[in-house]
């Protein structure tokens, strides 16, 4: 392991983009990069590979490159093996394997990791267990087999006596104890482990980060989509900001999920202490949205009234959760009102909230730019063996999702979450896409 992840490699790579910017005639750049030493071999284990599935948007960026730092950037990664759990109509994995000669599809995870041979034959593993036809449990969670893919990866590592970095897309598992086990296993076996959403590292509008060491009193996010899906993205957006607060992350003490009329009652409460949230944070989020559904016909952009909210949002969801250090957080899913994810935070001693839009690209007809920084970070991660941000972030958000759906299933009961006493620290460097980075 150690020789695979020298710091010097990282330093070389960090210096590479600037030097390459003008030096290489672009026509031959792809060929030259192929010939460079230090390229890493990647196995991807995915549920399905269709247009706009997570496997497609992540793996195509490895295969084809993407816009980065003002050029078409090709990561120094060779996708050499693929395990596909499903081949639905519209499958693209076979087309990609035909077109990219280095890429082969294997029938099992074990064979994908050994590339059909007898040793571990890759330098990194990417698990993409999002999309595909999987059962849903009574709590509305899709039972994507991320844990199962991870377990088979571990089995292969054990068999071959060697481990390589593993990236897990989105939350670790729908099942909290499995997620905990994944992180513990990685730690015990010294497997570099990176996970999570692309939302924390995408463009922000405006381009701001939580000041490192800030005293954060309350945070709120407004997103869209369903529980056990987009709630995770919104929770990660919040977590990526608040983990930078004074004292670092110390975990979440309790969570309550509200739905339907309970959400409007909380809104009307007018403050956290009264059972709701800071209205200024709610307003800041709506004012950062670029996709605020007009509340009135004939207008393009109006601020919704209280009556508009109830009329427009049929099934509101809120997770209200309290961190162990007293920080208060609210995640709202307001389908029908917004089409994007915004976050606002109240900082001690500051009159105006800090607020931003996590920009995911406007429509289905545009490239999801949020996957550019994700693939860039995956490349750095596989090269260095160091995750750009602690996997504990995603362990905590995975636990919040699980607690959220549990609370909803119990009619909005407040759940104590001693198992989410997850502590970690992040440094001051920002990791999201911005002028100086990407």
């Amino acid at each position: 392991m150690a020789d695979e992840h020298q710091i010097s490699r990282r330093a070389v790579l960090a210096a590479a983009p600037a030097a390459a910017l003008l030096a290489i005639p672009r026509e031959s750049a792809a060929a030259e990069e192929k010939a460079k030493p230090g390229r890493k071999r990647i196995a991807a284990l995915a549920t399905e590979f269709r247009k706009l599935s997570h496997a497609e948007v992540i793996l195509d960026r490895i295969l084809e490159g993407f816009g980065w730092e003002g050029r078409h950037y090709r990561p120094a990664l060779d996708l050499v093996s693929l395990y596909m759990d499903q081949f639905p109509e519209g499958d693209l994995s076979r087309e990609r394997a035909r077109r990219f000669k280095d890429l082969k599809i294997y029938p099992t995870i074990g064979e994908a990791l050994s590339c059909g041979g007898s040793d571990l034959a890759v330098d990194g593993v990417i698990i993409i267990g999002e999309h595909g036809n999987y059962p849903r449990n009574a709590k509305g969670q899709w039972l994507y087999p991320r844990y199962e893919f991870f377990q088979q990866t571990i089995a292969a590592f054990k068999k071959h006596g060697r481990v390589v970095p593993v990236f897990n897309d989105k939350h670790l598992s729908w099942n909290w104890s499995w997620a905990r086990e994944m992180v513990d296993t990685a730690a015990a076996m010294k497997i570099p482990f990176m996970a999570g959403s692309s939302v924390p590292i995408t463009w922000r509008i405006p381009s701001v980060d939580m000041p490192h060491g800030a005293q954060v009193e309350e945070v709120l996010t407004i997103g869209l989509g369903n529980v056990d899906s987009y709630d995770f993205h919104a929770l990660e957006a919040v977590q990526a900001l608040v983990e930078r607060r004074r004292g670092g992350e110390r975990g979440v003490a309790r969570l309550q999920a509200l739905s339907g009329e309970q959400v409007w009652k909380a809104l009307d409460a007018g403050s956290w202490s009264a059972g709701g949230w800071d209205p200024a944070l709610f307003s800041a989020c709506l004012c950062r949205s670029h996709q605020l559904v007009p509340a009135r016909e004939g207008f393009n952009h109006v601020y919704p009234s209280r009556a508009d909210l109830a009329r427009m949002v049929k099934e509101p969801v809120a997770y209200r959760y309290e961190y162990r250090d007293g920080l208060r957080a609210t995640m709202l899913l307001l389908n029908g009102l917004v089409g994007d994810i915004t976050v606002a935070a109240r900082l001690k001693g500051q009159a105006e909230p800090l607020s931003t839009l996590m920009f995911l690209g406007p429509t289905a007809d545009t490239q999801p730019h949020n996957f550019d920084p994700l693939v860039w970070h995956i490349e750095q991660f596989v090269q260095s063996g160091k995750s750009p941000y602690p996997v504990e972030r995603t362990l905590l958000t995975t636990g919040l999702v699980a607690a959220g759906v549990d609370s909803i299933a119990r009619g909005g009961e407040m759940l104590e979450t001693p198992h989410l006493s997850i502590e970690y620290q992040v440094g001051p460097a920002s990791t999201f896409r911005r002028a100086e980075h990407g």
């Binding site: 672009r26 084809e64 078409h72 087309e95 509008i205 709506l286 004012c287 545009t366 896409r433 002028a435």
Partner: protein
């Protein structure tokens, strides 16, 4: 309006070609009626719209409906709108939105929106009543450079602030970068999309808002040429525009086209040959500035759906690139960025950036379209010796992280 009327509130007249849903007049005018998001809060300007003139009332006209709801009047003439039905100029500012509506197109393909004619009538009121107030003019001042120049001259003669132009220079950028003030610029390239005399104007003004910050300021344009078809690709091979800058600009695009639209894949359009396949009718607007700077606008319909920019700075041969983001319909948040500048002028009496920017861009576009109808010839443009200084402060949405 939630805020009570006080003596301090400014009175605004709106002069528009048409006011219907999603027209410029609607989404810009409404910002003064219902407010708009600014710096993470819903901002309600301390401005009362007191009068409106609309030149046409197409199907879907909303002018009467808005007037009823927001308590202003629609007047049959511009002069009456400015005098709010009285005998003297009765407003503190005029918002001119001459976009959309049914107007003739000339031989150069320019839609002859009556912005100059509106402006003339406004100026006549100013002269007759012995008082002038700030005027905001949306998009080009006029399709005609000559008319645009007369508008700028009138504002100087009567000493009233004039703000004009596109929302692109002030919208969000991805990444949020600015041209370093006083930078020595080697070469610049803008990529745009859409129809001529509408969207090319936006693209040219976005590029100008960057380049005007260069060393020694703006001194005008020496010559322009508009080329089309295969000649565009040949000009790239001949080094008349830079493929390296094209790659940098396209790396900021979020568009999906061709194979990418079909199956999602990302593409290196610049070097794969796909660009030439996708763009059947390319156009290049080649601009030679008087100080030697060369700049090109490539209109690449078929390949992109957004507006991107790249330039090479002489200092360290650094390439700077960004996308001028046009947030989607219906919110079109870019118009909130632009109206915050108009509001600033109405409140302070000072235009935040010079109308000469828009004047010069009107001229670049007018002469490029002249080149187009004259067999794509290169045209010397001594008329375009427009000199001005851009403000040093960055004024786009997101500058400084707010």
């Amino acid at each position: 309006m939630a805020e009570p009327s006080t003596a301090k509130r400014k009175r605004l007249a709106i002069v528009a070609t048409v006011w219907k849903h999603l027209s410029h007049a609607q989404h810009m005018g409404d910002r003064f009626l219902v407010g708009y998001p600014r710096d993470g809060a819903w901002h309600r300007p301390a401005i009362d719209v007191v009068s409106l003139y609309v030149d046409q009332r197409p199907e879907g006209d909303q002018s009467d409906e808005r007037a009823r709801e927001f308590g202003f009047k629609v007047y049959p003439t511009i002069a009456e709108a400015l005098r709010a039905g009285g005998g003297k100029l009765a407003v503190d500012g005029v918002l001119v939105i001459g976009e959309h509506g049914d107007y003739p197109t000339n031989a150069k393909g320019q839609i002859q929106y009556p912005r100059y004619e509106f402006f003339e009538q406004i100026v006549r009121v100013f002269e007759e009543d012995g008082r002038a107030v700030p005027v905001f003019n949306d998009k080009h001042l006029s399709y005609s450079f000559d008319k645009a120049s007369r508008m700028v001259a009138a504002s100087k003669r009567l000493k009233f602030p004039l703000l004009a132009g596109s929302s692109l220079p002030v919208t969000w950028r991805l990444p949020s970068v600015e041209m370093p003030y006083g930078a020595a610029v080697d070469e610049a390239l803008m990529v745009g999309v859409g129809s001529s005399d509408a969207m090319d104007f936006h693209a040219l003004e976005a590029m100008q808002s960057m380049l005007e910050r260069r060393r020694n300021g703006e001194t005008g344009v020496k010559a322009v040429q508009l080329i089309q078809g295969p000649a565009v690709w040949q000009a790239g091979k001949d080094g008349r525009w830079s493929r390296e800058l094209l790659e940098a600009a396209l790396s900021r695009s979020q568009s999906r086209s061709g194979k990418g639209l079909e199956d999602g894949r990302t593409q290196d359009l610049t070097h794969s040959g796909e660009l030439e396949e996708l763009v059947r009718e390319p156009a290049a607007y080649l601009i030679e500035y008087r100080d030697g700077l060369r700049a090109t606008l490539l209109m690449l319909n078929g390949a992109v759906g957004d507006y991107t920019f790249a330039c090479r700075l002489k200092d360290g041969a650094r390439v700077l690139s960004t996308q001028f983001l046009l947030p989607i319909t219906p919110n079109v948040v870019y118009s909130a960025c632009l109206m915050s500048k108009a509001e600033q002028m109405f409140e302070t009496g000072v235009a935040p950036y010079p109308a000469e920017r828009t004047q010069l861009v009107c001229g670049i576009l007018d002469f490029c379209l002249e080149s187009k109808v004259r067999g794509n010839r290169r045209l010397d443009t001594p008329e375009l010796a427009v000199k001005y200084r851009a403000p040093e402060q960055s004024l786009f949405c997101g500058a400084g992280g707010v």
